[in-house]
Symmetry: C2
Subunit: 447 residues, 2 copies
């Protein structure tokens, strides 16, 4: 029974008894509670105790059924799952948005309709899967890669930057980059440096739950990302992801400040050392800015693309007993940059000093960040910090260690003048360094 | 004017005009607002616009003054700052608590009274500085080290474990270990494994703000730590630190789950992947347990001390483009254990597989944690995780990377049987692995 793809056992029986088929609008009742939505297909091999409904919010939810559950068919659906609808004709007046897919959970979202694992993303797939997109923008979909994001390197960042640059120069209103969540923060930081003065939004998006799971966040995140790309009042690199457990609010994070802080939750992405830039209200399709510290859309007429990165940079997390020999190993290998992820305000053990000194003398730029992640480095408080600065280590303010690492690769891709490198690393180029706040008792100052 | 140690300029004039001296109870008024407390000394060299008062909560606060500020003396103090009071005679019936100082900001808290930088901690210093301690417990103070915590190694963990063990065997009601915040989480994890079945609390405490600053958290944290050590209903290793910005609530964190998550805030320490064990209400001196998942005080009659650690363990944080050669470097150096801090659910790039495979073949234990910090590794979702498990990498559930690193050093200090190592690493020995929760939509499961 092809119309009920993926359902079996108890769930299949319940659907059959109601005479419902995929795409139908129905009401599912259990113990006096009810939920309404469109009946969605499932992937074969799943359990037989959930029925998946697409709610009015565009969000898919898996409803647990029991023997007491009842289904009432409210209307017959267009059964869009049975064949892909044609790409809608461009709607006049709607902004044009390009979606690049690079792989990851979000790009495999199309499985959901076909029941097969496909990681490519075509415009047809998108409209079939999230028809709401057609009312947000005229969407152009391009497949760049089909890669797990942990396999990304500077080569991919460069290619993505160039592809995005080309689209923006062609006049699109915004670009969306769909990728795996694992290294999204690193890639968003990379593009924040590589693509400067963007007149339009460059929006990273991903999903924590794959499409074959009732709790997938793929559709909602994609709707938000396209909405932001099409209409946000700012230009530049951001990430749009779930803001909380529910699917009504997404958050817009600055590309240099976003970090994945949970392995599985949909609200895993956080803005670190800064507030999120904006909230996207899913049902109302409304973007609410949370401050006014952003470059206005269109305020720059010319995108600058500087996509070169130098791979010879290492990120070393300090821990008690760290063998300083690994710093020497990087020196021997000809590395040009080292980001230390120190403890607290920016410390490593005294045992590391000779190796750090050799690194500095070899011409390597050595920058200090904190494994605390939150807060600002301050290497003037304790003698450890002062000693390290004397050796030549540069405190990198409140930059995320991951962003500092990406930035150093990019800076070394622009210049080999060591004074210029230090000056660029210590300046805020793309929102990666927050301005020092006024004296507050919790910002390292007395009150 | 010795009685007004440390005050100068505007602040000194205001105090003199009121005829107040150190230790006096006074009311400071400005713009209609007023605050009452005991006048405290300051360290020379500080600004002249703050007056430091010790509030009824035991907390010192720096009050900013202006030309409109007025002081009213409410009572004459005992001027305890002028000479150290003798150690109070032991109060019958009060629990005996040993405080070990190892260095760090909290141990330099005695500066405050003397105006000099001293990092040793005597019982006299403690009572002089926090007289409230005398009503909580009979305190015995011992100086172990005067070290920045970033310089701690397994040698120090072993010595601290042995010293704590000796005190507990001598019959104290609890032990407090005061140290630097930077590697407190690592050290608390180390003692959680090294000291098992403790019949009494072993309490780590620290300060984010040194004693010469009005916003210091040293006194409050120490009162809480001694209170917990003296009276908590549980045994085992915990950390007691500020729970929020204000000084009314401290949190008690499990030693294997606590992490420093801010460079400067007083509430920098968080329980990761678990709720804090308890709240300590400072003013009421009351401990409120937040669950019942703890070993009861005295339920074990015999402390087990296994203080050996193997240093040949590395923690490697993965990032895009990581040169897998560093894994080979550790193999060549004869390391016996490797904790990977992977991305997301527990991933590293495919480029790392051959090196990881060589590490496993060399007999090294390789464990996977996540740089997300929050959430659980799951290496059965994506092919990356499955491939790594086939190579022989062990997923380490929701263990903090830092705790996994410390645990592996400890496990390799107990056994060289590789099967036993794997079995111990994958079992919960000291609360480092949270039990899998029931299916919840945000724990990697559908709802």
């Amino acid at each position: 029974m092809q119309e009920l793809t993926g359902y079996k056992g108890q769930a299949l029986n319940l659907i059959k008894a109601a005479g419902a088929s995929i795409g139908d609008s129905l009401r599912l009742t259990r113990d006096g509670e009810s939920v309404e939505g469109l009946l969605m297909p499932r992937v074969a091999g799943e359990d037989d105790t959930h029925i998946v409904l697409k709610l009015a919010t565009g969000y898919n939810v898996g409803v647990k059924i029991s023997e007491k559950s009842r289904i009432q068919v409210l209307g017959t659906g267009a059964k869009p799952a049975l064949s892909r609808p044609p790409t809608p004709a461009a709607t006049k007046g709607l902004p044009l948005v390009t979606i690049f897919s690079t792989g990851g959970t979000i790009a495999s979202r199309v499985d959901y309709r076909t029941g097969a694992v496909e990681s490519a993303l075509s415009a047809e797939d998108l409209y079939s899967f999230v028809p709401e997109l057609a009312s947000e923008a005229n969407v152009r979909a391009k497949v760049l890669y089909s890669l797990f994001s942990e396999n990304f390197t500077t080569k991919h960042w460069k290619e993505i930057a160039e592809a995005v640059s080309e689209e923006i120069r062609s006049g699109v209103s915004g670009v969306v980059i769909a990728q795996g969540t694992d290294t999204l923060g690193y890639c968003a930081a990379a593009l924040s440096f590589a693509l400067q003065s963007s007149p339009v939004p460059i929006v990273f998006v991903a999903a924590q739950r794959s499409s074959d799971r009732p709790s997938s966040d793929a559709a909602t995140n994609l709707i938000g990302a396209v909405g932001v790309a099409a209409k946000a009042p700012f230009g530049g690199v951001v990430a749009v992801m779930h803001g909380w457990l529910s699917d009504d609010i997404l958050l817009v994070h600055k590309g240099t400040k976003v970090r994945k802080c949970h392995t599985s939750r949909r609200d895993a992405f956080k803005s670190i050392n800064t507030a999120p830039m904006a909230r996207f209200h899913v049902e109302a399709r409304k973007l609410e800015m949370l401050g006014n510290d952003f470059p206005l859309r269109g305020s720059s007429s010319q995108l600058v693309c500087k996509p070169n990165f130098d791979d010879r940079v290492a990120l070393v997390k300090f821990y008690p007993g760290l063998d300083p020999g690994i710093i020497d190993w990087y020196v021997t290998k000809g590395f040009r940059g080292l980001i230390l992820e120190g403890t607290g305000l920016g410390h490593v053990s005294a045992r590391c000093y000779p190796s750090v000194e050799r690194a500095v003398h070899s011409g390597m730029f050595v920058g200090m960040t904190s494994q605390c992640l939150w807060g600002r480095t301050n290497m003037n408080v304790y003698s450890t910090g002062i000693d390290l600065q004397k050796i030549g280590v540069h405190p990198l303010e409140d930059m995320l260690p991951e962003t500092a690492f990406v930035k150093l690769m990019w800076v070394l891709g622009q210049t080999s003048d060591s004074e210029k490198v230090a000056q660029m690393m210590r300046s805020d180029l793309a929102g990666e360094i927050s301005p020092r706040r006024l004296e507050t008792s919790e910002d390292g100052k007395d009150h």
